[in-house]
Amino acid sequence: MKRFPFTAWDAGRRAMPLLSRLKGRGLIIGVPWFWLGLFFLLPFLFVLKISLAEPALAQPPYTDLIEVIGDGLVSISLNFGNYVLLWDDPLYRGALFGSIQIAAVSTLVCLLLGYPMAYAIARAPSHWRLPLLMLVILPFWTSFLIRVYAWIGILKGNGLLNNFLLWTGLIDQPLEILHTPLAVYIGIVYSYLPFVVLPLYATLIRLDLTLLEAAADLGCRPWKQFLLITLPLSLPGVIAGGMLVFIPVVGEFVIPDLLGGPDTLMIGKLMWTEFFSNKDWPLASSLAAVLLVVLIVPFVALRHFEQKAGEEQP
């Protein structure tokens, strides 16, 4: 473990006037913290607050946590019943596991498809790279919603895919793909693939090719070069791409709603029902809070593991 040269740092610190030191450092560290506080922590606290209230027929449709009764008395009522319900009712657990499963499988498929794509772009002749990257980014120029709607046209009973397969004679009955889990996977993998390709490309393009040359000179076979050098060095890209897919897909609502069938149970859809159909904002907020905890714990654990691994390296 490296040791920070504290003495030199202390000397420098004493030499600087206290106020300007606080200003400079505080400002630089403060900006991201302020950003995080304003756009993440504060909204989350609102959600947390609503999750502890009770639904009411009012505007907004939940009770106040703090009530001034008069004579300087303040009553605070917290309702933890929603969290108990989420734990007790198999419906919500089922939805959470369902979402995580769909997100995990989609992430894996995205990585399996995205890695060769990113690898091919990174190893392509340099004048080809920009056009190829553009092709990856190009779909973003069309609205995400319209692209998902396009899949309905492709996958439905008398849609493009079925008509093509019928025409080629490969099938004699239209395949039922739309409104099945398969359609959800197709939609998700299609929509999120660029989020894997771009970070993977960024790591693969920075890879030091002389390492591979050295390995080849020492008699290492290509597939072993890949497994021992390229893959481990591109791991940060794999993790970044995986996170960019996994986290939003767990809460995905639009794709399962449009392409999925009635049995596609995902947490996003359940939140919609609680929020809109049931007007139960507190329960919807508890679901959101639980989802955040479920997503943040592995993320923090991963960061912790990464930091440890970094420290252990000589």
Partner: protein, 366 residues
Amino acid sequence: MKTLYPRIKTLALALSLTAAAQASAQELHVYNWSDYIAEDTVANFEQQTGIDVVYDVYDSNEVAEAKLLAGQSGYDLVFPTARPFADRHIQAGLYQKLDKSKLDRWDNLDPVILESLTDIDPGNQYLVPYMWGTTGIGYNVDKVKAILGDDMPLDTWRLVFDPEIVAKLSECGVALMDDATEVFVAARAYLGKPVDDFSRDAVAEAADVVSAVRPHIRYFHSSQYINDLANGDICVAHGYSGDVLQARDRADEADNGVSVAYAVPSEGAVVWTDVMVIPADAPNPEAAHQFINYLLDPAVIAPITDYVAYANANAAAEALIDPEIRADAGIYPPAETREKLLVLKTPSEREIRDMNRAWTRVKTGQ
């Protein structure tokens, strides 16, 4: 700098001028169901009054309700369904009282429909009835007859709830609405049980009916069936009368050999009324009153009924409606059908949550 300065000044002047112009021209924010007015309704109103109409649409009561409940929706006029939505909203204090001195065409409204709303809105202080319709069954005439034979009566909930029949029809596609109350009430009517019972046991009975046919249901959706019926992608749909009739008209226009029909099931079907309301925090209630009064004009509302295939609540407009529409039993049901129509009572909040959670379980097969 010198050359830039006058330019900024002109720009500022121009900006303040547009701001002034915007302040003088009135704006009216209307939030209505999609496909629920005629094509020229808004344009004619703008021409007559000089008020700019900002017209937004929704496709479910729930979405409109969420905006109203959150507050400061910015809308001046909204069109929710009377029961259970507007009923709840009056209780929650979301609306402002109508100023009837500004509605000189109020007397055009059908007194029977006004009377039918007094249990949720005593004295008709908040709600102006707009259109009404029923929730029944739309079907592809040729395909269903080919499968079930010519003798089978088609005005029955068995088409969507009898497992044997739905299994036969599933090859050409059966769709149910994605709406807990509508489906459970229809299922109770199919069982011949009282439809106003929202107790847990009653909901469980209805849920069992839906669970039994679920494997044969192609999807649960509250508007998708319009297109799919018209294209022949599905052959039976549980849906709103006017939506099914719009599907029929679209199929006729496309001349694609699909003929769609609508039936009010003989076991009974829900009749509903959509109403116009002014939110309590509406920025421009004055213009909202003008728009309501405009829609109370028989010459305005009759072409809307012709266009959207829903019956309006304007008694004075009856003579102006296209005779073909007026004679359509799906839009203006004959007396013997009207007797079978059911007016829903509003379930309690607890009952609604139980129903919706039971609905999620049924849909997902949990």
